[in-house]
């Protein structure tokens, strides 16, 4: 298991999905290339070091890594490869595009409660209305308002038959 082999490394909440992991992998490869060029070239020649992204910065800071050290780069590379290969992926659909803050909060909860390296892909489905739909490896979880109404169908029918409203109940 990846999180067993790389227990010390963690994914920041901003690295939410496989796309972000792939981006980190590509960025790390670029840094590796630059480092290799620095090693091979003679002194005095200028080598342009690539600028790290916010995702990479957060990953480095969270895991206290120094990418100038080959061991750290290798460790991170192995970690990212393991994450890419073995981390569970959840697909969650919302009615609107979620904000970064929302995703951060959701990822924090997922990494804490479900799996420390869980990845998330976000879908857009306007018909949901409220709530979300979660699709795992083989299961499908409907947390939408429509499903909630379906669950409360008998109660709705009972209320409709009695002609009651919540407001009326509140008054009574």
């Amino acid at each position: 298991m990846a999180h067993e082999t790389n227990q010390t490394l963690k994914l920041p909440v901003l690295v939410a999905g496989p796309v972000d992991v792939n981006r980190l992998v590509r960025e790390l490869e670029a840094i590796d290339d630059v480092m290799l060029q620095l090693k091979l070239r003679k002194g005095g020649e200028a080598v342009r070091v690539p600028k790290t992204s916010q995702l990479m910065d957060q990953t480095i800071q969270l895991n206290k890594l120094n990418l100038l050290h080959e061991a750290d780069r290798k460790s991170l590379s192995q970690f990212l490869a393991a994450v890419k290969k073995q981390s569970p992926v959840l697909h969650i659909s919302f009615s609107a595009d979620p904000s970064v803050v929302f995703i951060e909060k959701l990822m924090t909860w997922l990494r804490r409660e479900i799996h420390p390296q869980v990845l998330l892909t976000i879908g857009l489905q306007p018909t949901i209305g409220a709530g979300c739909m979660v699709r795992g490896a083989s299961h499908y979880f409907d947390f939408t308002l429509r499903h909630k109404f379906d669950g409360k169908r008998e109660l709705l029918l009972k209320k409709l038959a009695a002609g009651e409203t919540p407001a009326a109940e509140a008054v009574s």
Binding site: Q86, P88, L90, F94, S95, A96, P98, S99, V101, F102, K105, L106, W109, L110, E113, I114, H115, V118, G129, A130, G131, C132, V134, G136, A137, S138, H139, F141, F143, T144, L145, R146, H147, F149, D150, R153, L156, L157
Partner: protein, 209 residues
């Protein structure tokens, strides 16, 4: 009856006229034995003839003629008067009869006409009543049919509504306050649902992985 009376009166008048004509002819005719041969002078017949001629001379004959004429005229006048009275009586009776008959006939015809009108009226009333009954029956049938169809439609709509109630309410909520539902406001609800199904999600992830 009156026709017979009229015929009898006319027959009486005709018989009276014939009698007067016969009398006039009879008076004007000479005896057959006397005219045939001339009597012998000095005979009884001649003497009788002379006496007769002396008695029934021209003046006397003229007197007799005048008297006969007057008597005839008197009889004619009386009969004319009687005839006139009979005619007046007959005319009045005829008028009365005709009036009575016409009145009776008219009454009968009017009665028949009235009866016909009454029958036609009754027939029309019966027909209208039958039509009204038929219309009422059809109206009831149509009303029942419409009621049944409305009930069936209502049941179908209710069934449709009940089967798609969640979708309908969801659609209504979306249409009513869809733009006011912020995803950030739903975070607690979503996390609550995830928390409720955490175990199942973990099992799914682990089994999938």
């Amino acid at each position: 009856m009156t026709i017979w009376w009229l015929a009898l009166i006319l027959a009486t008048l005709g018989a009276s006229g014939l009698a007067f004509i016969w009398l006039a002819v009879r008076v004007g005719r000479t005896p057959a034995g006397v005219v045939a041969g001339k009597p012998q002078p000095g005979s009884i017949a001649a003497a009788a003839r002379e006496d007769v001629e002396s008695i029934f001379n021209n003046e006397f004959r003229e007197e007799l003629r005048n008297r006969g004429r007057l008597h005839f005229e008197k009889i004619i006048g009386e009969n004319a008067m009687f005839l006139q009275q009979d005619l007046r009586l007959t005319t009045s009776q005829l008028n009365e009869f005709m009036k009575t008959e016409i009145t009776r006939k008219l009454k009968e015809e009017f009665a028949k006409y009235e009866q016909s009108i009454t029958d036609a009226k009754q027939l029309a009333i019966d027909s209208i009543q039958k039509t009204n009954l038929a219309i009422d029956e059809q109206r009831h049938e149509l009303s029942d049919q419409v009621r049944k169809e409305i009930l069936a439609e209502k049941q179908q709509l209710l069934k449709h509504f009940e089967s798609n109630m969640a979708d309908i309410i969801n659609h209504y909520v979306l249409a009513a306050i869809g733009n006011q539902i912020d995803l950030n406001d739903q975070l607690d609800y979503i996390l609550g649902e995830l928390e409720t199904n955490k175990k199942a999600i973990i099992e799914d992830i682990l089994s999938g992985a």
